[in-house]
């Protein structure tokens, strides 16, 4: 799980072009990254390619922090 979380944080930092150290697992990513739900969906695609899984859009419903997102990914690995 920790590794998944690390990878999610690293990919998010890369995708949204922010320094990795600015992101923490319990950050509200909408707020920290200043993104809307559509931009968050863009990140899902990147995560799908990285983890070789399919993440339906609904997996992002009600999720606003990296820890929960990583847990949802972990459940599909």
């Amino acid at each position: 799980m920790d590794q998944t979380l690390d990878e999610v944080l690293a990919l998010a930092a890369l995708h949204f072009k922010v320094p990795r150290e600015k992101l923490t697992p319990d950050d509200d990513f909408f707020k920290t990254l200043g993104i809307d739900s559509l931009q968050a969906l863009d990140l899902l695609t990147r995560l799908e390619h990285h983890f070789h899984i399919e993440l339906p859009d609904y997996e992002l419903q009600g999720v606003s922090d990296f820890r929960t997102l990583a847990a949802r990914i972990q459940a599909r690995l």
Binding site: S37, L38, D42
Partner: protein
């Protein structure tokens, strides 16, 4: 197009559509780069009738209510038609609600049947209130092979091959109950008749016609009034095709435009802005010479279309932009919330007209729509044919509450005669929105009479619904308002909620309190969060039963403080 004035119900019109264009494609469903299904009108009928028969064999009667909770897909429309074939009443529920809210609305409308997508059914089954669910038949789509369905039946198995009986309905009979976002304790079920839909469809297609060969990209939830009309009823009665995407990620949406040569699409302002942002980045990346040429062509297009849109000409002037949208896009329909005029103008200048409009669930779909003759980014267009608009109690500036009358106005709110009487007065629907009618007939909106906000994603948020989350905040008292309710805006712009805090007499606003406030705020879904707070130094006015007198408090704050007193969260 079918002559809808000749029909008495949606079911009868759709039944004829299935006969009239048997070989035209009516539905395409795609997931990422894969096309999952493609149905002609004849194949749609072959899918829907066994479902209707299974409903009837299960004891489903005309006027019984059937709810649908599904993301946009073919099965949504097939289920809806099966219900209408049986003369039933459709209750489209918002799939983005929580399981508890779904259970509340299913109980409120006393649904007999529920069509539900598996992942949503799983959430409902896990909810504490599940035991109270009283729906006779639950049909679950896309359930994995060994999934526990708690009495739910599998969609694939819920079919009977004998012909179902077609049950005719009259124009005044109820077609749908559509829930509008009301305050949590009080569901607002708008009861809409077959006449509401048939007449609204006639008005809308008079300005924005469909025909066989047109493809409509369905992105807004089908339970929403706009997509139900322009992503189902409208295209079907004209023999057109609807494309559903199972993922709404921007990259797949962009691909769909070119892959399916999309003619029309409906969006909420947030998605439109996302497209605008993407295009601007692309333009900025162009080499200077190309950017110069592009800007000149945009200027030229703008001048040539200043009086009326001319999509054919714009496609020739700006081929690179139009080919990115598939080359066939005629209009983007946008609604559900306020759209920034600059965004509307951006697309119009590229030769992609955006038909923005204004409507409420209570008015079926739309009251006004931009007719593009000429394009007016600063207004929400003109009243549709057959719809009257007037301004109530207009001030010297002409601004007052918008009211509308026409065959599009709902029958009533389900089981709520009091609210109905307040909302529909002598046939006029009182919208609660403030506007001004220009002599040209265009409607300009200025704000809301009600204490609520509408997000860019098209969601209505009532302060009362989010207040509870701050319940444990250690302050003397607090109250949440729409900022525009305290400080009426002169124009509709970005709307936000603000928390008004009254501290204890010797209490200071510390960093710890601020962090606590932020933590509670974060418990809300992102679109419901407060954008800032205001410190207020007087006790709140309250009624004898200790309820806050919101109107008076808002007026007191608005008089004593400027809007700049809001401290961002």
């Amino acid at each position: 197009m079918l002559d809808l004035s000749q029909y008495s119900s949606l079911g009868a019109a759709l039944r004829d559509a299935l006969e009239r264009w048997p070989n035209e494609t009516c539905l395409i469903e795609a997931d990422r780069e894969r096309e999952k299904s493609r149905l002609t009108y004849a194949q749609f009928k072959a899918e829907a009738l066994p479902l209707a028969r299974a409903l009837q064999d299960g004891g489903y009667l005309h006027n019984d209510r059937a709810a649908i909770i599904m993301t946009n897909q073919s099965k949504w429309l097939i289920s809806a038609y099966a219900v209408m074939h049986c003369g039933g009443v459709l209750v489209p529920l918002d799939y983005k609600l929580t399981a508890a809210e779904h259970l509340q609305l299913l109980a409120h409308c006393a649904a007999q049947v529920l069509f539900v997508e598996y992942y949503l059914w799983r959430q409902i089954m896990q909810d504490a209130g599940f035991k109270s669910l009283r729906v006779a038949t639950v049909v679950v789509t896309e359930a994995p092979p060994n999934a526990e369905l708690a009495g739910g039946l599998r969609w694939e198995e819920f079919r009977r091959d004998a012909d179902p009986l077609f049950v005719p309905r009259q124009r005044q009979d109820v077609a749908c109950i559509v829930y509008s976002s009301g305050t949590a304790g009080r569901p607002k079920g708008c009861v809409l008749t077959h006449e509401n839909y048939l007449e609204q469809c006639i008005s809308l297609t008079a300005w924005y016609p469909f025909w066989p060969g047109v493809t409509y990209l369905s992105i807004l939830p089908t339970n929403h009034a706009i997509d139900f009309m322009v992503g189902f009823i409208g295209p079907f009665v004209c023999g057109a095709c609807v494309v559903h995407l199972r993922t709404l990620r921007p990259e797949y949406v962009r691909e769909a435009f070119t892959r399916y040569n999309i003619t029309y699409v409906s969006l909420v302002p947030m998605v439109l802005k996302n497209l605008e942002r993407g295009l601007k980045v692309k333009f900025a990346e162009l080499p200077a010479a190309k950017r110069f040429v592009l800007n000149r062509m945009i200027e030229w297009n703008k001048w040539r279309t200043r009086k009326a849109a001319n999509v054919e000409l714009s496609r020739k002037l700006l081929p690179q932009v139009h080919s990115a949208f598939g080359g066939e896009l005629r209009t983007i329909i946008v609604g559900g919330a306020f759209t920034d005029p600059a965004t509307l103008q951006f697309f119009y200048d590229l030769g992609i007209p955006v038909a923005n409009g204004y409507g409420l669930t209570e008015a079926c779909t739309a009251i006004t729509v931009n007719d593009l003759k000429p394009f007016r980014a600063d207004t929400v267009g003109k009243p549709l044919p057959g719809v009257e608009v007037k301004i109530l109690d207009a001030g010297s500036d002409g601004i007052g509450e918008v009211a509308c009358r026409g065959k599009n106005v709902m029958s009533h709110y389900l089981d709520d005669p009091g609210l109905t009487a307040q909302t529909i007065v002598d046939g006029w629907l009182h919208t609660g929105d403030l506007g001004r009618l220009e002599t040209s007939g265009h409607l300009q909106l200025f704000g809301r009479k009600k204490n609520m906000i509408v997000t860019e994603g098209g969601k209505n948020i009532y302060p009362e619904d989010v207040e509870m989350v701050f319940d444990k905040l250690p302050v003397k008292e607090y109250c949440v308002f729409a900022a525009n309710y305290i400080w009426p805006a002169k124009a509709l712009g970005k709307e936000m909620l603000t928390i008004v805090l009254r501290l204890e007499n010797n209490q200071e606003f510390t960093l710890a309190l601020r962090e606590e406030l932020i933590a509670y705020n974060r418990k809300l879904p992102d679109f419901k969060r407060a954008g800032g707070y205001v410190l207020w130094e007087k006790d709140f006015p309250r009624t004898a039963s200790l309820k806050i007198k919101r109107e008076i408090l808002a007026a007191e704050i608005g008089t004593a403080l400027e809007r700049t007193a809001i401290i961002p969260l």
